[in-house]
Symmetry: C2
Subunit: 199 residues, 2 copies
């Protein structure tokens, strides 16, 4: 039970449903929203509504898009011979921010997770196979997450794609730039040793 | 420059303006908002708008309220002889959550901060003095923050109120429940020693 205004309680409750936002943070955010200039608060509310109204999945790569197909799929300057496969749109965004990859993407919208009842049918795997069949990709880069399920998904897809004349690669694994060996875990060290490169 | 849908970018930008929400968190929240059932996303947007439309300051105590005066000021079961003075509505909320205080509040809407150009005139000090003059408070509890500015504000107000027949107290200071002496700082230890209580 709360003694402050019902509208504030409701906002605190709604904010508290966001991931990583606890009760105290939700209160702090609510008071921030009460204090900022009105247009800033309204802009946030409108951005939430707009994203739900206007955003859908790209019909080609399943990235988020406001049109039938997304800005990357429509960009004639991207390398049409390389396809990078990711689990989620946010993974695509991380890769884009690095600025290294100039090819196209395919978003699976998840990973194969038998324990959660998620098989290839719930993902965009069929569309991916069609795409590789009808396009001229020279290389398909598996960029699923380096987890048991992500690795399993990569393996499943690379088997499916083995009938096509494409090179299948995956992201390098090893120690991370700026890290300290002392604090690297066993898997990181093992990956770094297994994949060691000529100097 | 971002390659994903404009609506997503805008939402990430708006979320990133919230305090304590960095770029990565804003992205995670945006993707959460895209993924949850539509009514949940709309409920958050509506709660933001509603809080800005419906919430104002209580005409008596300056707590947040959806009516002319707030639920606490209108509650006949609260102790009308005790008044607790806080800086902000969120401080009032913290005190309410402890459930110990059953009296009334007065929210200053800030603290005296000469370096920021904030004097008593920008706070609700005049309304407070009027209130103490025309009411029958036996005790006024200063619950400003234990900072230089909060303490200064308390001192200023207690001087102002010294002409009225009220007892003026302040929140106890000392070590915190559940803390470890080893990690307490010098001020905490000093407060705890100065304010030591009979066992």
């Amino acid at each position: 039970m709360s003694k402050h205004a019902g509208a504030v309680s409701q906002l605190v409750e709604q904010l508290g449903r966001l991931p990583g936002i606890g009760r105290k943070s939700a209160e702090r955010l609510a008071f921030h929203i009460l204090r900022v200039p009105e247009p800033e608060a309204i802009a946030l509310a409108d951005a939430i509504k707009r994203v739900r109204n206007d955003v859908r999945y790209c019909a080609i790569c399943f990235n988020l898009s406001e049109n039938e197909s997304c800005a990357i799929c429509n960009d004639p300057n991207r390398d049409a011979t390389r396809l990078c496969i990711v689990e989620q749109p946010r993974d695509l965004m991380s890769l884009e921010q690095s600025g290294v990859f100039k090819g196209h993407y395919h978003v699976l919208l998840g990973r194969i997770a038998p324990l959660d009842g998620i098989g290839p049918d719930q993902l965009t795997v069929d569309a991916l196979v069609d795409r590789v069949r009808t396009s001229n990709f020279a290389e398909v880069i598996m960029a699923t997450n380096p987890t048991v399920e992500g690795d399993g998904t990569s393996l499943y897809i690379s088997n499916l794609l083995s009938e096509f004349p494409v090179e299948i690669t995956r992201l390098a694994r090893g120690i991370t730039a700026g890290s300290v060996l002392e604090y690297a875990n066993r898997e990181m060290i093992a990956d770094a040793l297994t994949g060691r490169q000529k100097l």
